[in-house]
């Protein structure tokens, strides 16, 4: 049964504009990140070459090429901003559309008048959307790998592994927002309320929590900086303890370590940053399970 439903859901997702938009956006942002990285590195190298020439003319020694000391994956560092900003909002819409159609159209009534458990129904929906998300991540990973290969003139096996780990983390992060999109549909009766609620939570996670939990860095949500200086005001000292709740910050910290664009961290520290994302995914998954059982599908189709 789960295979039937998952297959059906994958076919539906493939034909949805939301998914096409999601995939297209990721192709675009991955390419953009690579192009921006390439463009900035080219500019810096050109300036470096000019400076080296000038220094040579005056008989002074040239400093080392900045790209000899810059991590090879730094050119993709913009991805760690695009994913929480653009990726997460698209993931909310993808999760929302995965369950809203059956509910709003009234097909839910036909489905649940069959010998099908709600757990199986939800599992197949979640499995299908997780697979669709994985496809997007694989495409992004492939583009990133090719970009690094072309721009740097080669890629080490370690960097390939780091990219795989980074996109696996991004998958987990986006999966949290897919589940958020599903939860809000199951909690609310109206399509618009569900979407607005999910977007409200996205705003809180992406903008509010980073500000509150690291108040001394008002641009924290925009720049994937390394560890903040200690908070001096008592309010922010208090709220800094809530940092694990700031999923986007934790994601950016873990990503920076994985791509080696941030301060070096131990494996334990990286896992600490990753844990809140995984905990959120498990918690939202459990919430979905609880909600699907008490959701009233007899009103399916009458809420629009």
């Amino acid at each position: 049964m789960i295979v039937t439903l998952t297959h059906h859901q994958l076919r539906s997702i493939r034909r949805q504009r939301t998914f096409v938009m999601f995939l297209g956006s990721f192709v675009l942002i991955t390419t953009m990140a690579a192009l921006l990285g390439y463009s900035s590195s080219r500019t810096i190298v050109r300036v470096y070459d000019e400076a080296t020439k000038l220094l040579a003319e005056t008989g002074q020694p040239a400093p080392p090429n900045p790209f000899d000391v810059t991590p090879s994956l730094a050119l993709l560092s913009n991805m760690t901003i695009y994913v929480p900003f653009i990726g997460a909002i698209l993931a909310v819409v993808l999760g929302h559309s995965t369950v809203i159609d059956d509910k709003a159209s009234g097909i839910g009534r036909l489905i649940f008048s069959r010998p099908l458990s709600r757990r199986t129904y939800l599992a197949s929906k979640v499995l299908a959307v997780a697979l669709a998300l994985a496809v997007v991540m694989v495409v992004s990973w492939a583009i990133s790998t090719v970009a690094v290969l072309l721009i740097n003139g080669g890629i080490s096996p370690g960097d390939v592994g780091r990219l795989v780990t980074y996109f696996a983390l991004s998958w987990a992060y986006l999966f949290v927002f897919v589940l958020l999109g599903i939860v809000t549909v199951l909690v609310t009766r109206q399509r618009a309320t569900a979407l607005l609620t999910a977007l409200g939570v996205w705003v809180a996670i992406t903008f509010v929590l980073p500000q509150v939990t690291s108040g001394i860095r008002p641009v924290a949500s925009l720049n994937p900086l390394t560890a903040p200086a200690p908070a001096v005001q008592s309010f922010f000292q208090m709220t800094s303890h809530l940092r694990p709740l700031s999923l986007s910050e934790e994601y950016k910290s873990a990503s920076a370590t994985i791509l080696r664009t941030g301060a070096a961290e131990s494996l334990g520290q990286t896992l600490t940053h990753t844990a809140p994302v995984l905990v959120a995914a498990v918690a939202l998954g459990a919430l979905c399970l609880g909600l699907i059982h008490r959701h009233d599908y007899s009103r399916s189709g009458s809420d629009e």
Binding site: M1, T4, L5, H8, R11, S12, R15, S105, G106, I107, R109, L110, I111, F112, S113, R114, P115, L116, D296, Y297, S298, G301
Partner: protein, 244 residues
């Protein structure tokens, strides 16, 4: 003696603190075409929602073919077909694909074959390769019936099946229901407002008012008991008016 097709005992349901069903009790025997009549908000759709396992009743018993709609959900859903008042299917899929999907959900062994045979039975083979998004109301209704019978259920629930249909569509639907009842022996439970259709089609009627069944009898007996009334509408009004 076999269990009745539908058995409802002391059924109560409360929606948002408002009682919708009040100690509802009735029985429908196998092979009947049961017309379930009542004014808007009488509780007809709530009764169907409970019998099709979509809604848990606040209290009371609802059984289909001897199986409890709350505790024995899988057994009930294997034996029922359901056509809601407004038929919606997956618009991006063809009629054949939609039917195959619902046949699979019902555990039909050969879904493609069952879907094709059901469309042929309804004289709607031409709809098979067409996308549902292009369908008219009448075509959707035929496909809705097809999804409700693709697994050959014992009991068919139809909720306001004639809503939105033109006179020709109503007649086609009536003929289809009669064929399903005669050829396949399906018990039909039909919520409707169209009293003329009930008079032509149903073998038994029940009248629901404010969540209570105020009348139930065979059509033959109903006509005999109310010889002075010219139509079912007159009988319906008289029964409703007689209720305190």
């Amino acid at each position: 003696m076999p269990d009745p097709a539908i058995e409802v005992k002391g059924l109560n349901h409360v929606y948002d603190d408002k009682p919708v069903l009040d100690d509802l009790t009735f029985t429908v025997e196998h092979g009947e075409i049961f017309g379930f009549l009542g004014h808007n908000g009488a509780g007809k759709t709530t009764t169907v929602n409970i019998l099709t396992t979509l809604l848990r009743p606040t209290s009371g018993v609802a059984r289909v073919c001897g199986h409890d709609a709350v505790t024995d959900r899988d057994e009930v859903t294997r034996r029922i077909g359901y056509l809601p008042s407004e038929v919606r299917m997956y618009g991006h899929l063809t009629a054949q694909e939609n039917l195959e999907f619902f046949a699979r959900l019902s555990g039909v062994p050969h879904p493609a074959q069952a879907a094709a045979e059901t469309l042929a039975y309804l004289g709607a083979e031409h709809l098979a390769p067409l996308r549902v998004s292009t369908f008219s109301t009448g075509m959707r209704q035929r496909l809705g019936i097809a999804q409700a019978i693709v697994h050959r259920p014992a009991v068919l629930f139809l909720d306001e099946p004639t809503s939105g249909l033109d006179p020709q569509g109503v007649r086609q639907l009536r003929e289809t229901i009669q064929r399903l009842n005669e050829d396949l022996g399906m018990t039909v439970f039909m919520n409707t407002h169209l009293l003329s259709e009930v008079a032509r089609l149903c073998t038994t009627i029940g009248v629901l008012s404010h969540g209570q069944l105020i009348y139930q009898d065979s059509m033959a007996e109903t006509t005999r008991r109310f010889p002075d009334e010219r139509s079912l509408e007159d009988i319906y009004v008289r029964v409703e008016d007689a209720t305190p």
